[in-house]
């Protein structure tokens, strides 16, 4: 996904000379092509993320469109107050890009995991939270973010994510994408684990359970029109994210659903328990450790449907 991002950033920087990339001493070689044509708009601001975010706000307020890029915990947790005040409170149109989100960097240990970022960022007034599910969604998402007149957080994976569409999809921030239809249960996922949801749907189909898969790439604002339709149609909804169970997409949907009147589906979530992983491993190992797997999705579906 980071390569797709670099490609998309390059195109954007070439098309629009207000676009500036601020990187936190990362992205070795990734942005060389852009540096070659726009050296003064590709700035390594060093390993200093709180400053980086303030710098981005200042540039945005001066008419530029800064894109901030580093590994997710450092571009979110490290400088959260700057995002809150310098960016969101000022309504500064900064695009915040976290690379290696979720458990993508499981080999580097918990300092490099991000399992709380969706929760954190969506608490901020005026923030848009966008989690592309595959490389094809990154470019379209970045373009949408730059066309949006407000701050946007883009939560990237790292590399090797399979493409989940046949062609570049239309990305409208706040509008979910139906990946496949189904009649018994609705799986709602965000980020690369949309792929897990689709795999789970195949497993469920073999067991005679028809699952719809919804790609909620935008966690904030939630596609409430889609949620209205889903809650009316399904008696069970399972939400999947490579994130903790507290406050992510599951939390957002639960908050939306709780005060509603009328019949509502059973709502279940697949996400990480409230604990740190004290070991290193592959992303697959880490997902499995936290119970973020096709098996877990199938299990939640069965429980929700009482089958």
């Amino acid at each position: 996904m980071r390569n797709s991002f670099a490609d998309a950033l390059h195109e954007a920087a070439v098309e629009d000379d207000r676009v500036v990339l601020l990187s936190g001493d990362i992205g070795n070689r990734l942005f060389d092509r852009t540096k070659a044509v726009a050296a003064n708009r590709v700035i390594n601001v060093g390993i200093a993320e709180q400053n980086m975010m303030g710098v981005a706000a200042g540039m945005a307020l001066s008419g530029y469109r800064p894109v901030v890029y580093t590994i997710t915990p450092f571009t979110t947790y490290r400088c959260f107050e700057q995002i809150r005040v310098d960016v969101c409170y000022h309504e500064a149109p900064v695009v915040i890009v976290g690379t290696g989100s979720g458990l993508s960097y499981a080999s580097l240990g918990p300092t490099h995991h991000s399992m709380e970022d969706i929760a954190l960022l969506r608490t901020l007034p005026g923030m848009t939270v966008f989690c592309p599910a595959c490389p094809l969604e990154v470019g379209a998402g970045l373009r949408a973010a730059l066309a949006h007149d407000g701050p946007v957080y883009i939560r990237l994976g790292k590399k090797g994510e399979p493409n989940l569409h046949d062609a570049v999809p239309q990305i409208t921030l706040g509008k979910a994408i139906t990946m496949q239809d189904g009649s018994d249960v609705c799986l709602i996922a965000t980020g690369p684990v949309v792929g897990l949801a689709m795999d789970a749907a195949k497993m469920l189909a073999k067991a005679g359970i028809s699952a719809r898969v919804e790609n909620f790439h935008t966690v904030k604002p939630l596609d409430v029109a889609r949620l209205d339709e889903i809650t009316a149609r399904y008696r069970a909804v399972v939400v999947i994210e490579e994130h903790g169970r507290i406050g992510g997409l599951f939390g957002a949907i639960a908050e939306w659903m709780a005060p509603r009147e009328g019949a509502r589906p059973v709502l279940a979530g697949v996400g990480a328990e409230d604990k740190f992983l004290h070991k290193v491993g592959s992303q697959e190992f880490a997902r499995s450790y936290f119970g973020i797997s096709t098996e877990a999705i199938v299990d939640q579906v069965r429980r929700a449907l009482h089958t």
Binding site: I26, N28, I47, L108, G109, T111, Y289
Partner: protein
């Protein structure tokens, strides 16, 4: 450049440093663990600390009176792991047979102290080790203990604001048992460290923050020992150690590709030959 003309380094420590380098290079090749060059630049510093200066030992990992060393540049953990194994904190086989894909303990950054005795802080995010060390130094002073607190920083790590917050407080609090060594290998992840930000003049910055600050050749173990064991004033001490990223292996030295690259078997063998570990 070094203010300290060293006595010749004890041959024992020079040999340990070479052996450590060989193990670090081999491990990186076997496990595909990156940040090799960042590990190699601080080997002499680690050897001086763990095999001479620090009052630490496997059987006193929980002793409140022990010296504390924090690897604030946590991505050099593969070097620290080799040091701790050599010093007997855990069997070396555990390190060499750690399962990197499925829940091993030994990755690219230190685990928590609770997970691995000998580790004082689970670093990996830069700029954390020094503030935590300041806390440990304050605790030490409150408790009347006389232990050393030593912190190894990267030069790129000095970009982080928390380093300077901690530095200002440490001097304000006169934490004279606190020592910082900066592994000044002149590179960070993507650029030369003096080109990203106005890092230089570095030793003057620490002096301006009211630390005692000196420069040494970070590969001169004799000089390191002299500096780190010299009598102290009432100020914390910053040792700016001029080092070479990738030091010890000619084809890795000062080549920032080795921030990411891992060596092939042929490169491991060539490295060990250069280090005098095989003929």
């Amino acid at each position: 450049m070094s203010q300290f003309r060293s006595d010749a380094a004890p041959p024992r420590l020079t040999a340990i440093a070479a052996e450590l380098r060989g193990r670090i290079v081999e491990y990186s090749g076997k496990t595909k663990t990156p940040h090799l060059a960042s590990c190699l630049s601080c080997v002499d510093i680690l050897a001086a600390y763990y095999f001479d200066i620090l009052r630490v030992a496997p059987d006193r990992a929980a002793d409140p009176g022990r010296d504390r060393f924090i690897l604030s540049k946590g991505h050099a953990a593969p070097a620290l792991f080799q040091v701790l194994a050599m010093a007997g904190f855990f069997p070396a086989e555990e390190l060499w047979h750690s399962d990197h894909n499925n829940g091993g303990l030994f990755g690219e950054h230190p685990p928590t102290p609770g997970d691995l005795p000998g580790i004082e802080a689970a670093t990996g995010s830069l700029g954390h080790g020094l503030p935590m060390a300041v806390g440990m130094a304050l605790a030490g002073r409150l408790g009347g203990a006389g232990y050393r607190i030593d912190v190894l920083l990267g030069d790129g790590e000095c970009n982080e604001g928390t380093i300077w917050e901690a530095a200002m407080l440490a001097a304000g609090q006169r934490l004279s048992q606190l020592t910082v060594v900066v592994d000044f290998n002149k590179w960070q992840a993507t650029d030369r460290s003096c080109e990203v930000m106005a890092l230089a003049p570095l030793v003057e910055k620490w002096r301006a923050f009211q630390w005692e600050a000196v420069e040494v050749d970070g590969h001169d173990i004799g000089a390191l020992l002299k500096v780190l064991k010299a009598p102290r004033s009432d100020k914390p001490l910053a040792v700016i150690a001029h080092t070479v990223k990738g030091k010890g292996v000619s084809f890795m030295e000062d080549d920032n590709n080795w921030h990411y690259r891992t060596p092939t078997p042929a490169e491991v063998e060539a490295a060990k030959r250069e280090l005098g570990l095989i003929s």
